[in-house]
Subunit: 332 residues, 2 copies
């Protein structure tokens, strides 16, 4: 019997479709595909990107030369532009503003052939520190309300270049999905006087069935009502509303569990395309009591049809309990 | 300068990204791809599908034999099952119910090689009448709250079989996206005492820039804040909250404008994969004053990245005004 399950935060229902059941072995990972040819993110091609904003590099090397192990620069084809004013205005009943924002690229490794899952934990820690430091810097700009940090891995997940990289977009509005989470979390908090994610953590640790991994500071779970097969959330065990206020010591733990999740999914499912997004509180109003930052990781193993976009109603052929059991069993 | 635009109904912002601007000629349609091989939807293979629920066929032919021009049957691999009770229950803080519902397939033509865009208007009228009649029938089942009618055309749009068909899913809950529309429309109605779609129609007819086509009863527009290039909405000009109460005479007009939109997009953009969804009021509460049914048509010309799924924030490289001008110019 298929099941309908409700996401406890935003109220989205999903169909866990056992009739269309897919076991982990049904997913053919698309594998690592490495093409030859010119890559603007490779060492030696620093002049092909806008000048770097920051880098992890020996002090003996100059900016925008090779030798770096991590590099951050503005996106050459930004979705939003950094210069200008918002000029909010109405056009009849419609509302618009200038597309002001920042759009940066974080190149995670100089090695074109490595996926993020293959990086050392220390290198993933450096990536997370770069995310945090860029977010803290952009937070100073009063035009911005949100900093979105995300990664597209693989062409099917929307990556236009295959060299492993993440992106950061600072926006003058809070994204709808985050607002929905805040509203759902507030409703729960008003009723229970507890954070909903803290309650989810407690239940998942007790039930164990959707747990993928845990360390001293973080939990990795398959959520109760996942949109996608092997959708995985990484949640800090201690209540904290903003990612960018993370301590150095916690970054270490986060790098460990993120590496573990990436490696398990990539080794267990043959390097599928994937996306992840960091959901953190808005820059101005932190919703400190109700909001709890987390990472949503989504392998791209099924095709999403217009049905999903038209309705916000997802059909997922893999129960999260099976996905969690599979991932727990992947040796890395 | 890129622009941020807000959908007036549900409040979703999109980035109209001129920096990444794509002109219609930049989209390589994936073309019609016709494979040889067995198709369970073709005439002569009626025994390969569940028994038909209805069909348009000469009275001299028997059910589940060839001779039909349109055929409706239950999905062989249904996302939801028709038999049983909902058994709503809680699991700790989580909520679930049995996956009860109906999942039907509407095969629109016996000809394997025709796309919906190639059908005669009279054939599209028959398809729309089948949608309506199936919705009216399923409405009688008190377990259902919503009937979703949608079409996936092409593998990239989620179609698993290429023979042109639509689908219908009756669900025991109202989809989130429809609830968001209802909430947005109610907010507008409470403030203005007018239907928001009626106001959109008035403004689009006045502005003309996003208008694709209009006939005596319907309008086809590129919405002000489209998620996708060439996203097109078809809206009845007269206020009506439910699709399934459409009169026969209006079905004629709707078939005409739907044929026109499909043909313009398919001829202008070389038969891209696409989805469409009919947004109508819930079965029980019609929200008659505030809600206005419509069709959302979405060609799949860009890859949606996890960024969009993680944030509900879309990046669209094609301004709707350009898309509308292009479609107006396509001769069919």
């Amino acid at each position: 019997m298929p099941e309908l399950r409700k996401d406890p935060v935003i109220g989205r229902w999903v169909i866990i479709s056992t009739e269309r059941g897919k076991r982990p072995s049904d997913f053919e990972g698309l594998g690592k595909k490495r093409t030859e040819g010119f890559c603007p993110f490779c060492p030696g091609n620093e002049d092909q990107t806008p000048p770097e904003i920051m880098a992890v590099r020996p002090s003996t090397t100059l900016p925008n030369t090779s030798g770096w192990s991590l590099r951050v620069f503005p996106n050459k084809f930004p979705a939003l532009r950094i210069e200008g004013n918002l000029n909010r205005e109405g056009i009849g009943i419609f509302d618009k503003m200038n597309g002001i924002g920042a759009h940066e690229v974080i190149v995670e490794t100089p090695d074109h052939n490595l996926d993020m899952a293959d990086l050392e934990t220390s290198q993933i820690r450096d990536v997370l520190i770069a995310y945090r430091n860029r977010a803290l810097d952009l937070k100073k700009d009063p035009r911005f309300r949100y900093v979105l940090i995300f990664k597209n891995q693989g062409v099917l997940a929307g990556a236009s270049l295959e060299h492993s990289h993440s992106q950061l977009i600072a926006t003058p509005i809070v994204p709808k999905r985050v607002m929905e989470e805040i509203e759902g979390a507030k409703r729960y908090y008003d009723y229970k006087e507890r954070c909903i994610w803290c309650d989810i953590i407690a239940q998942e640790r007790k039930d164990q069935v959707r747990l993928v991994s845990e360390n001293d500071e973080f939990l990795a779970i398959e959520p109760f009502a996942p949109r996608f097969p092997f959708e995985t959330w990484i949640i800090p065990q201690a209540h904290q509303s903003t990612f960018e206020e993370i301590e150095d010591s916690s970054v270490e733990s986060l790098a460990g569990i993120l590496k573990e999740v990436l490696a398990k999914v990539c080794q267990g499912l043959n390097y599928p395309p994937y996306n992840f997004v960091i959901h953190t509180a808005p820059l101005i109003d932190h919703h400190e009591e109700e909001y709890h930052w987390h990472i949503e990781f989504m392998p791209r193993l099924t095709r999403v049809a217009g049905f999903e976009w038209g309705t916000g109603f997802y059909i997922n052929p893999t129960p999260p309990e099976e996905a969690a059991a599979f991932l727990r069993g992947v040796e890395i």
